[in-house]
Amino acid sequence: MPLMVLTANRLRDGEVIYLAQDSRWTESLQEALATENAEEQGRLSALGEAAVEALELVEPYLMPVCRDGDNLNPVSQREIIRAAGPTVRRDLGKQSEQGPSEHV
């Protein structure tokens, strides 16, 4: 199975978030839990559905990523833009943020 992380948009503000270790949701892709294991991916999806029920987020789905050293990189252009922000406004989105990411 390809390497996957679970992503969604936060219900209250639409922010892009990822499922991290310990069932936390994070705004940083680098903190996401990535797995190639199909069973584990199923567990992530189930956690996503539970978070929908808990009103934390909407529309969770698994997205493919690749590892580059310690970094996790999205595969598709769409997910690259979701993870960073608009390519035409580098001052906006996650790419503009300094310091540690904020967890939900």
Binding site: G14, S76, Q77, I81, R82, P86, V88
Partner: protein
């Protein structure tokens, strides 16, 4: 401008209350996303790539200075300090929080605005010629009828769940600045042999996956029958339009399947039962609405002013249009500065335009479907001062109608539906053609860019149309040539295989070079293409590809 009456105001305030309750119930878990999504979409609230996006209705593209100041305030207070003017003459804000959306709607209601019917399968914001009411040669101000249609279609119980969205555009002149032939219904004002004003009714046009040029269903419709005839068309569509296939649900598919003759027969049959009924417009009601749109200026003999700065002359050459009232000009404000995002305006720019409109244009602004702004009532004597005010805000780019005046949808930088980016392609092209001398040498040429087949960037009707597609995860761009959205509406033809993202600027520059090499004196791009066909363009474009 039209001003809300008590009924209008009550309606938008009730909607704010309803939506506030719906958001609260969603956040409390009383509504699921499946239940809530259609409710938020009815209020123009989408979930896009980075956040929620709010699409605010600007009816027929007309704004007051007070309204534009409010939009600037909302952009600053609730968003990231800017907004995006769209090809439907609306404004989109890209970084909205769901929990703040009801407060935004409440602020909009304070200035007679809302986001109702900017999404969903209903009659959307009616668009009109941005020069409405001031264009030379205009038969009547199309905003009178746009407003009448707005009132009729707002929360129309029969047409709130159509097979698909429904878009109407109106023009009052022979020149078509409203793209009426690529709308579900296009209305073009004309006179009959008796000299009476009415409408040519065009139906079944559209862009998207299946671009179709609308067909004339009625050569002349007397004004008083406007609503009853529209109701007849909508009824036939509502009954027979396909609901089983999203891609075949628009009225253009129905009209093509039935044929315009059969569709006309069905509409006329339906209309026979409606004609002369409650929907007949009394002249007094037309006059009542028309009174809101009487131009607030009179002819003046005040001397026109100029400015010795050569940049002023360049701006005046492209950004001014003739006004029907002596001593005045229509001023176009380009939102296409070199390298800028087409249609984007910062909160500061919105406030500056509002201030300049208040000072020089009787407090009125128009939004164009080509993603620019217009000040409709400027005295020629005030033009230099206005130009300096615009210059100070980076809003005096002298490129209206030139190759750098590019339409681009938000594309993959923001939109959940997009397959490819559109904005950076527009930026690269605007930088490529930044030299004004070159732009004037090329002449009028419209580039239109969409990031997916939904065609919000109107690529089908660009002289050079660019459509972003996804090929195995990579952005590619299909180029079409020869499209037009004016009175000579045409759908562009695909010139050949798609280009990779980095190849697009060179490809477009090559097409422009080919045109300049092959054109005859004063021949437009589309006329040159019509004379020669695609072959020479294709041959030279791909010769070294």
């Amino acid at each position: 401008m039209y001003r809300y009456d008590a009924h209008d105001q009550s309606l938008v305030e009730q909607r704010v209350t309803q939506f506030r309750d719906q958001v609260a119930r969603r956040l409390a878990g009383e509504l699921s996303e499946m239940e809530f999504k259609p409710l938020r979409l009815m209020n123009g609230l989408y979930l896009q790539l980075h956040a929620y996006m709010l699409r605010i209705a600007i009816p027929y593209g007309t704004l007051s200075a007070v309204q534009l100041r409010k939009l600037a305030h909302i952009a600053r207070r609730y968003d990231r300090g800017y907004g995006h003017f769209t090809t439907r003459q609306n404004l989109q804000l890209n970084w909205i929080k769901l929990e703040e959306a009801p407060d935004i709607l409440a602020e909009l209601a304070e200035v007679e605005m809302h986001a109702i019917q900017t999404s969903g399968n209903c009659i959307r914001n009616v668009t009109a010629d941005q020069y409405a009411g001031v264009a030379a040669g205009e038969i009547e101000d199309p905003r009178i009828y746009s407003e009448i249609i707005r009132q009729w279609s707002t929360l129309h119980p029969e047409f709130s769940f159509l097979p698909r969205k429904f878009k109407i555009a109106i023009t009052g002149t022979e020149e078509d600045r409203a793209a009426v032939r690529v709308h579900d219904i296009g209305l073009r004002m004309r006179r009959n042999l008796k000299g009476e004003a009415g409408f040519e009714v065009i139906v079944g046009g559209g862009l998207g996956r299946t671009p179709v040029i609308g067909k004339t269903i009625r050569d002349f419709l007397p004004k008083q029958h406007l609503l009853s005839y529209l109701e007849a068309i909508l009824r036939v569509y509502n009954q027979l339009g396909r609901r089983d296939n999203l891609y075949k649900a628009r009225i253009k598919i129905l009209v093509n399947q039935l044929g315009i003759e059969e569709f006309r027969r069905m509409v006329e049959t339906e209309w026979a039962a409606l004609e002369g009924g409650d929907l007949t417009l009394p002249q007094a009601e037309i006059d009542r609405i028309a009174a809101f749109f009487v131009p607030p200026v009179c002819a003046t003999t005040e001397a026109a002013a100029s400015d010795p700065d050569p940049d002023y002359a360049l701006w005046a050459r492209t950004n001014l249009a003739p006004h029907k009232i002596a001593g005045h000009a229509i001023v176009n404000i380009s939102l296409k500065a070199t390298g800028a995002v087409p249609g984007d305006a910062s909160a500061e720019q919105m406030e500056a335009v509002a201030d300049l409109a208040a000072r020089y244009s009787h407090g009125e602004i128009r939004v164009t479907h080509e993603q620019n702004l217009v000040l409709p009532y400027v005295k020629e004597a005030d033009l230099p001062a206005l130009w300096r005010g615009l210059q100070a805000q980076g809003l005096a780019t002298p490129n209206i109608g030139l190759i750098s005046d590019i339409i681009a949808c938000p594309g993959l930088d923001y939109c959940n539906l997009a397959n490819a980016r559109a904005i950076p392609v527009a930026q690269k092209l605007s930088e490529r053609f930044a030299a004004l001398e070159r732009q004037h040498d090329v002449g009028a040429l419209k580039i239109k860019i969409s990031g997916c087949i939904n065609a919000c960037g109107h690529h089908h009707v660009g002289s050079i149309g660019i459509l972003g597609v996804d090929k195995k995860g990579e952005e590619f761009y299909q180029i079409t040539l020869g499209g037009s959205a004016d009175e000579n509406t045409a759908v562009g033809k695909i010139v050949g295989p798609a280009f990779a993202y980095d190849e697009v600027p060179d490809a477009v520059a090559r097409i422009v070079d080919i045109y300049q090499d092959l054109r005859e004196k004063d021949e437009t791009f589309n006329a040159c293409l019509a004379r020669l066909g695609l072959a020479p363009f294709k041959e030279k474009l791909y010769a070294s590809h």
